[in-house]
């Protein structure tokens, strides 16, 4: 058995054992099933939601928000990171501005976003984009700055055009740092998604958690939390694989090696 399949087997075993232990514990005590539901009940409710098609609709709504917001934030972040990394004037203007706004947790912006954009899709997508943009910007900027002088003498002598330099030097030179920014931003994008959906929506996993909370349906809350966890995990793996393909000269750490 390879190292990799051994790791997977170990993880599946641990996960299954945890669920079984939880169920066994509940069978033993049988206390407050509404507040501390056993896995059997959580998975029952999840099955109901899957059969009714509600879960799929919520997953699609949430993934669309987080996906569009993530792409938007990542593109803006990389764009400004390259700009502030390679141009002094841009760093003076945008760099200073971003450093002022960056420390504000995006979740604190939720009430403002609701006032300005209502509870529609635009505000939610923008909130995810803001959450994703700053770490991607900062990592891109730092990545550009880590390209060593020795790598740049030849570039200066060749006097290549800006676009040629962008594609051949700045973007790939900063790529491993950009990749790190993109990886941490996956989780941040989901944080912002949750905050945005909890303020109100028509569909969405976090919105259902909030609804289930009001209806005292802890089983549904836990079920949807699990789905969110799986989605975030899969999204991280997806981004990792994409980066491995795009940046063959770098090593993309696995989640547990961070």
């Amino acid at each position: 058995m390879t190292q990799r399949s051994r790791t997977i087997l170990l993880r599946v075993t641990v996960a299954a054992a945890t669920v079984l232990l939880w169920q066994a514990l509940w069978n033993l005590i049988q206390w407050e099933a509404r507040l501390f539901p056993p896995p059997s009940r959580v998975f029952d409710t999840l099955g109901t939601d899957i059969r009714s098609g509600d879960l799929l609709a919520d997953v699609v709504a949430s993934l669309r928000r987080v996906g569009i917001g993530y792409l938007l934030g990542a593109l803006i972040g990389v764009f400004f990171g390259i700009l502030t990394g390679t141009r002094k004037w841009a760093d003076a203007v945008f760099g200073s501005l971003f450093q002022l706004v960056r420390p504000i947790p995006p979740i604190a912006m939720v009430p403002l976003v609701v006032l300005w954009f209502g509870i529609g899709e635009l505000g939610k997508v923008l909130l995810v984009a803001v959450g994703v943009m700053f770490p991607v910007w900062l990592n891109t900027h730092l990545g550009v700055n880590t390209i060593t002088k020795a790598h740049l003498y030849l570039v200066r002598s060749l006097r290549a055009g800006y676009w040629s330099q962008l594609w051949n030097i700045w973007l790939p030179g900063a790529a491993s740092s950009i990749a790190a920014g993109l990886r941490i931003s996956v989780a941040l994008g989901f944080y912002c998604l949750i905050a945005a959906e909890m303020t109100g929506a028509l569909r969405g996993l976090a919105y259902q958690i909030e609804l289930a909370h009001l209806a005292y349906r802890v089983d549904r809350m836990i079920g949807h939390m699990l789905v969110l966890g799986v989605l975030s995990f899969v999204a991280d793996g997806f981004v990792r694989l994409a980066l491995m393909r795009l940046l063959p000269w770098t090593v993309q750490p696995e989640r547990d090696e961070r």
Binding site: T148, A150, Y153, L158, S164, P172, W249
Partner: protein, 250 residues
């Protein structure tokens, strides 16, 4: 022989009080290999940065082919001690990209790059990223890269200084073989007298603080084919003379 590079009373420094170079005057003729030798931190690298156009002199005149040096261009190419291969490009692309910048078509650039890489003994490593190469192999990629550009003036800043002695000799030999076929004017900064005697036609010694030219010696001709041949009575007396000179200026 034509003089292609002229320095007259060139001074340089990052602050007015702390000059690194003072009144350096030097003429380099076409096709010459000049070794710049001196204690570390004496400003040899600064001198190469000035000639490359990466720094402006604080005073004096610096002319390349009768034109003042204002900014870097692809006629004067610098190869530094630290690994200058781009880690994100394959060996082949490391050599081919600069050629495309010079206006070659993609196809020709790759063909030319492959030819230069096989000339430095890396024909089997074209598709590999630098991280998978040894230090000596990476510096050979650097050598292929600068020769492929056909600069008129090569500026080598201790290019093989980070390598162990054995690897260094082999890279030096690779360099000399290519140089014999191309004969481009070369300024090479080195800490190693052996390397200077092996590579250069002329040995310029820098010393003092701020540094100036304290000695200028012709090196034996004909050029040695092997490192072992740099140990002759003439070379040894040159060694002694240079070391005494440096001891006196400290």
């Amino acid at each position: 022989m034509n003089t292609i590079l002229t320095l007259e009373n060139v001074s340089a420094g990052y602050e007015a009080q702390k000059m690194v170079l003072a009144e350096v005057s030097l003429k380099v003729t076409d096709g010459e290999v000049v070794a710049l030798f001196g204690p570390s931190g004496c400003g040899k690298s600064t001198l190469l940065l000035l000639i490359g156009g990466f720094l402006s002199p604080a005073g004096g005149t610096l002319e390349y082919r009768d034109e003042p040096v204002i900014q870097p261009d692809d006629q004067r190419i610098l190869l530094t001690q630290t690994d200058s291969t781009w880690p994100w490009k394959t060996t082949l692309e490391n050599v081919a990209y600069p050629l495309r910048c010079q206006g070659q078509t993609s196809r020709n650039a790759r063909k030319d790059a492959a030819r230069w890489l096989s000339a430095v003994g890396l024909a089997d490593s074209l598709g590999i990223y630098p991280a998978e190469l040894s230090g000596g192999m990476r510096q050979r990629v650097g050598v292929a890269k600068v020769f492929a550009l056909r600069p008129q003036l090569l500026l080598l800043d201790e290019p093989f200084g980070a390598l162990d002695e054995f690897t260094r000799h082999s890279v030096n030999e690779v360099f000399l073989n290519l140089w014999r076929e191309n004969r481009m004017t070369t300024l090479v900064v080195t800490h190693s007298l052996n390397e200077a005697l092996f590579l250069a036609d002329r040995l310029v010694v820098l010393g003092g603080k701020p540094a100036r030219v304290v000695g200028d010696f012709p090196v034996q001709s004909p050029r040695p084919a092997k490192v072992e041949e740099t140990f002759s009575p003439e070379a040894d007396s040159l060694r002694v003379e240079v070391l005494r000179l440096l001891a006196g200026t400290r």
